[in-house]
């Protein structure tokens, strides 16, 4: 039994201010345990008593993990440390990923009176962000803003990139950022000694440590991202006469209004690369026609939004995804080098590339000449037979001639693309879509622009493509229902957003039901 004399004054013990409370919030598999051990070693090296705890880290499967460390200058008696971080009572919060920083803020571990937040700004995406058919990425900017508000000091930059650059892991750059933040009263050399004493991958860890330490000490911030990605001037290669034709097309781009030009330039590059110069001319013909209509509706006052939007979606529509395009992209000059670089293959290492392709009868038929394709398609028996022959997964080794050749030949069909069944259908679809948008232009400029944007829903191959087309049709029908209303453009935009929420289109169904409830069309 320990009998202790009563504490005389009921005043806060000033030694509590020397107590450092540090929490690490990591995603499983990021080496939070290694970092914690380093911090403990660092503290003990500097004459501190330290205690660390964690909720058992069982690698990646546990999602987010918290490690917690407390330390106090060593004295004759052992201090009593807490075993878990408390809201409003954390001095240093290390977040090994940006949304983990957000989670720390939400949980109240980051407060303006005491917390230095050390966060890596990179993202490890959560599953819920990845499965959305459109864009489901969380808003890291919002977390950054909240961090500035919630923390006493913020040290935030991409520590993952620094670690990778040094061939190390993020625990080393987080440790460096901790050193550079200057929040712990320990000399930098003792950090280095700690890393050296750990004995594994020392050189690389030290490199990552130093880079992050310097960045943190200078309160380095990530460069601001470009608000709008600007199309690089696409460099084209090919025979001289074709290049001259290409340059001629460039002059037509120069004649377009300012707001249209960047997208039209990117769009033109896309379709020429996809097919040929003549196809590029066709693209510009269509675009210029749309521009004329746009002008007639005083598009200049609206920054030619209609033509600019058309420049973007017309290009993706004309450069539709088909077998020929895939084969072309996979048999281009430079791909081997790109793959090798992506795989970080060293010299003397062979890179064997296997493609996973799975064509179905429908795709094969769509690559047949119009009449032959239509003939086969009209005969279910024939289609079934064809499906039995072609419909299976194929693994093609494109680093070998045997696998490369079939794709090369398929890519060569590009020159006859205009005569194929698929092309006719795609062009008809483009015409129908553009006509619908053009018809709305004199009535409701904004709605016409949104109508163009519906094209975003058509993407992918086989089933995905079919699903996209179905969504396109449903949103087009919804857009027709709201036509004439003042908020038609808003509703169409909402339909597009809903269509991109989930693969089956449940959100879209809901939005359409709402529209039907206030339009007189009933069950359209």
């Amino acid at each position: 039994m320990t009998e202790v004399l009563p504490v005389q004054s009921a005043a806060r013990d000033p030694r509590l201010d020397d107590l450092v409370k540090l929490a690490v919030m990591a995603v499983g598999g990021q080496g939070g345990g290694v970092l914690t051990n380093w911090i403990i070693d660092l503290a003990e090296r500097n004459g501190y008593a330290a205690q660390a705890t964690s909720v058992a880290g069982v690698a990646q499967r546990t999602g987010a993990t918290i490690y917690y460390v407390e330390m106090l200058p060593e004295a004759a008696r052992q201090p009593v440390f807490a075993l878990s971080p408390a809201e409003g009572d954390v001095d240093i919060l290390i977040a090994a990923e940006m949304m983990e920083a957000g989670r720390a803020i939400m949980r109240g571990f980051v407060t303006p009176d005491r917390t230095t937040l050390i966060a890596s700004t990179h993202r490890a995406l959560a599953v819920s962000e990845k499965v959305v058919p459109g864009t489901g990425l969380a808003d890291a900017e919002a977390v950054q803003r909240a961090a500035e508000e919630a923390a006493r000091a913020v040290v935030a930059f991409d520590m993952e990139a620094i670690a990778q650059g040094a061939g190390s892991v993020i625990s080393a750059s987080l440790f460096g950022a901790l050193a550079g933040s200057g929040t712990l009263p320990f000399p930098v050399e003792s950090y280095r000694e700690t890393i050296r004493a750990s004995g594994r991958g020392v050189e690389k860890s030290l490199a990552a440590f130093e880079a992050a330490r310097e960045a943190a000490a200078s309160r380095h911030r990530d460069p601001a991202p470009d608000p709008e990605p600007v199309a690089e001037e696409a460099e084209f290669v090919g025979p001289a006469p074709l290049l001259r034709d290409w340059e001629a097309l460039g002059r037509r781009i120069a004649a377009l209004p300012d707001p249209v030009r960047p997208l039209a330039r990117a769009g033109l590059a896309r379709v020429v690369d996809y097919q040929d110069v003549a196809y590029g001319a066709e693209y510009l013909d269509r675009l210029e026609a749309l521009l004329a209509e746009d002008r007639a509706q005083d598009g200049a006052a609206r920054g030619f939004d209609f033509t600019a939007t058309a420049a973007k979606y017309l290009a993706t529509a004309m450069a539709y995804d088909d077998i020929l395009r895939v084969a072309d992209l996979k048999t281009r000059a430079g791909r081997r080098e790109r793959v090798a670089a992506e795989m970080r293959a060293g010299t003397g290492t062979l890179v064997q590339v296997t493609e996973y392709v799975h064509p179905g009868a429908a795709e094969v038929v769509s690559a047949l000449p119009v009449r032959l394709g239509a003939y086969v398609e009209a005969r279910p028996g024939l289609m079934r037979m064809l499906d039995r022959v072609v419909n299976r997964g194929r693994r093609m080794r494109t680093d070998r001639l045997s696998g490369f050749l079939p794709l090369y030949v398929a890519a060569g069909l590009r020159r006859r693309r205009r005569t194929l069944l698929r092309h006719g259908r795609e062009m008809a679809h483009v015409d129908g879509w553009l006509d619908a948008a053009r018809a709305r232009l004199p009535l409701d400029y904004a709605h016409a622009v949104e109508t163009l944007k519906i094209r975003r829903l058509v993407k992918g191959y086989s089933d995905t493509h079919a699903r996209g087309l179905a969504k396109f049709d449903r949103v087009m029908s919804g857009a027709a229902l709201v036509e004439g209303r003042a908020d038609a453009a808003d509703w169409t935009a909402r339909l597009i957003t809903a269509a991109l929420k989930d693969p089956k289109g449940e959100a879209l169904d809901g939005a359409l039901r709402t529209i039907r409830s206030f339009t007189t069309a009933g069950e359209a």
Partner: protein, 714 residues
């Protein structure tokens, strides 16, 4: 081979008196067992004591030197049953498991053990999986202790206190002929600290020696009339003996001043949290010297009435800090005070919440409320104190949840991708899951499986549906659950009842969810355990006739075919698919150093990795909805014509093949490619590759000379 090796740390377990032991809580417990002459140890892994089992397994050699028997038991029930050795023999034994789930499984053996009583000290070390990071239902072990009359130790969470608790646990058990439960909470298991070591002591009587001279005592066997006598003996002899021991050795501790109008009674495990709250209130200093009297219950069952009454005497109010519900201690203390006619007011679950973990904030607010109500004068003015949290910027709509999921390259991912594809064809099914990694299938992106009723009980929990119907019920069982309880309770049960259901046994070669321990069907060679017993053979052995063994789960097409077969066959009786591939985490840990060494030594090594042709990917993310792999992620292409991010595979990819297989089986998109890096290729191989490259380059150049194309394609 377990996920974490303690080989290095285990060497520290040899240190003796005069030395200081530094390390984690679980290592300290192991050291204390050795110092206290334990004769045998066993247990079943599960957080938070998985690593304790790993430590024990790694310390097997050391224990063998001391004559200690170690068993990695088949289940918690088997572990508890092992304590039978202490019933007739004066041998100290210790077992460990996760609580409350493990205690549930073990409770039959525990109740029998407690009824007959023990001669040698019997210690049950339970890892209380409560609060943050817990993976189980939130319940308390306390109920098991009181119902079976097992003494419950809940020591302060520091190494000297835990190691003391082990010593006293054995002695208390022997003094009162009663098994003792030592409860350690999650963070206590992993707390890093130090304590003064003692010498390791071999058991006075080893289990090996005991076998030479078998003993029995009918009076200890749970059978009438002895069982009726046991109950009387429990309350008349064993309880008083325990109370005497606890009082004599001052197992419960007092801190702070003797005289005060208020006081706090707390579970030992709550000590650090209470001190922190007192520190923040200005009522304790950094070393824990408190201005408020504390009565720390390192033993939460039994309670010592006179100690309680002594503590409450002269106090206006006493706060009980007791985590979890029901509030067993508070009720018991109330009864003690009431019986004695004591006047002290008892506070507890009125100022502290009934349910949920006592985090820093909860503790601070609870203690502050109690002090404000009963001793406002000793509370310093906290109005001016700066540590009231400021309002937090609202990020609830921004920050996505990060539930646990399958690891990179997990062999279970393709199984559930196949199941999802089958469900797309045939519609949704009634699916029950089990305990284990596979349970992550209930999370996005798979969202498969509806129930989890207990370890090895996946198929059993579908029993009501086993009579058949329009669509067969499907159940999932991991290999860990299979050997724990599943073979009899689930598979045997299905055979006997002529089940029409389909069962998938997910065999990843380890008890993977608990940290990769070996089990009967593991394929590794284990020096001290018998492995390599195929699950399919066991299934056939209990009478299943429709059994399919799949040896590469990554073959999504085959997985889907087999599942389709199982769901449509007219075969009567249970349909069992054993889907086997090694846990990728363990496989990487095993293979990575070997491959790196082979590359260094100049031997030929192939390493697969996946990639995405950025311009082929259309950004629909259908592949993500059949994967959820951490290495398969997204990036925003640098292209103004694009609205949506495209798939991207990062450097952590292990080339398991799921991406390609799924793209193929689900007919998704051709943007994935597999790149096999061949390190140190052979001479012929190099020559052949060079020739192929030349031919391909000639073809590429030929086409490039006739067309216009962008120079850079991504």
């Amino acid at each position: 081979m377990a996920e974490r090796s303690f080989k290095k740390e285990v060497e520290h377990l040899r240190i003796g008196a005069g030395e200081t032991f530094r390390g984690e809580g679980i290592l300290a417990i192991t050291k204390a067992l050795l110092e206290n002459g334990v004769g045998y140890v066993g247990g079943y892994q599960g957080a938070p004591i998985s690593h304790l089992m790993d430590v024990l397994a790694d310390a097997e050699d050391l224990m063998a030197e001391l004559g200690i028997r170690f068993e990695a038991n088949a289940s918690e029930a088997a572990a508890a049953a092992m304590l039978a050795a202490s019933v007739h023999y004066p041998i100290r034994g210790a077992v460990t498991f996760k609580s409350t789930v493990g205690t549930n499984v073990a409770s039959d053996a525990l109740a029998n053990l407690a009824s007959g009583g023990v001669k040698g000290g019997a210690l049950i070390i339970v890892g209380e999986d409560y609060g943050e990071g817990s993976s189980i239902m939130q319940e308390r072990s306390h109920a098991f202790a009181t119902k079976s009359q097992i003494w419950l130790l809940d020591p302060r969470p520091n190494l000297p206190s835990i190691t003391d608790a082990v010593r006293h646990g054995f002695e208390l058990s022997e003094a009162s002929n009663t098994p003792v439960m030592l409860m350690v909470r999650i963070r206590c298991c992993h707390v890093h600290g130090s304590f003064e070591a003692r010498d390791n002591v071999p058991p006075k009587l080893t289990v090996r020696d005991a076998l030479k001279n078998p003993q029995r005592d009918t009076g200890r066997i749970v059978l009438p009339p002895a069982s009726f006598l046991h109950e009387k003996e429990k309350v008349e002899k064993r309880w008083p003996a325990a109370v005497d021991y606890i009082r004599k050795h001052r197992l419960n501790e007092h801190f702070g001043p003797k005289e005060s109008r208020v006081g706090i009674v707390l579970q030992g495990g709550m000590y650090n949290g209470v001190i922190r709250a007192l520190q923040r209130l200005g009522l304790a200093d950094v070393y824990g010297d408190s201005a408020v009297p504390l009565y720390v219950l390192n033993v939460t069952h039994p309670l010592l009435d006179d100690e309680v009454l002594d503590f409450c005497a002269g106090k206006d109010a006493v706060l009980v800090v007791e985590e979890g519900q029901p509030e067993y201690l508070e009720q018991a203390l109330r009864a003690i005070l009431h019986k004695a006619g004591a006047t002290a007011k008892l506070a507890g679950k009125d100022v502290l919440p009934m349910a949920g973990e006592y985090t820093g904030r909860v503790m601070l607010e609870g203690l502050e409320a109690f002090m404000a109500a009963h001793a406002p004068d000793i509370l310093p003015d906290r109005g001016r104190a700066p540590n009231t949290p400021a309002p937090v910027p609202d990020l609830t709509k921004v920050v996505p949840g990060r539930p646990p999921g399958f690891c990179t390259g997990c062999p279970e991912r393709p199984i559930f991708a196949a199941m999802k594809l089958v469900e797309e064809e045939m519609g949704p099914h009634q699916i029950s899951a089990d305990i284990g990694c596979h349970l992550f299938s209930i999370m996005p992106p798979f969202e498969i499986g509806g129930t989890t009723m207990g370890y090895g009980l996946g198929p059993a929990s579908n029993a009501a549906f086993d009579g058949g119907g329009e669509r067969r019920p499907i159940s999932i069982l991991g290999d860990g659950g299979f050997w724990h309880n599943g073979l009899t309770s689930s598979i045997g049960n299905a055979v006997f009842n002529k089940s029409d259901g389909v069962t998938i046994v997910v065999d990843n070669y380890y008890s993977a969810a608990t940290g990769g321990q070996d089990i009967l069907s593991s394929r590794a060679t284990n020096r001290t355990k018998a492995t390599k017993h195929p699950i399919a053979e066991a299934v056939k052995g209990v009478g299943v006739t429709w059994v399919r063994q799949i040896d590469r789960t990554y073959d999504v097409g085959k997985m889907r075919e087999t599942l389709r077969d199982a769901l449509t066959t007219d075969h009567e009786g249970p349909k069992v698919i054993v889907a086997s591939s090694e846990c990728m985490l363990n496989r990487q840990r095993r293979e990575k150093p070997l491959l790196a060494k082979a590359v260094q030594e100049g031997r030929r090594v192939e390493r697969p990795k996946f990639g995405v042709d950025e311009e082929v990917c259309t950004g629909d993310h259908a592949c993500m909805r059949l994967s959820g792999c951490p290495s398969l992620t997204l990036k925003m292409p640098d292209d103004p014509l694009r609205d949506d991010p495209v798939a991207h595979i990062d450097q952590t990819c292990v080339g398991c093949g799921n991406c390609g297989e799924v793209a193929d089986a689900a007919v998704l998109c051709p943007s994935f490619y597999r790149a096999d890096l061949v390190h140190n290729p052979g001479r012929f191989e190099k020559w052949w590759a060079r020739w192929q490259t030349r031919a391909i380059d000639w073809l590429i150049a030929r086409r490039a000379s006739r067309r216009l194309a962008r120079e850079v394609v991504r």
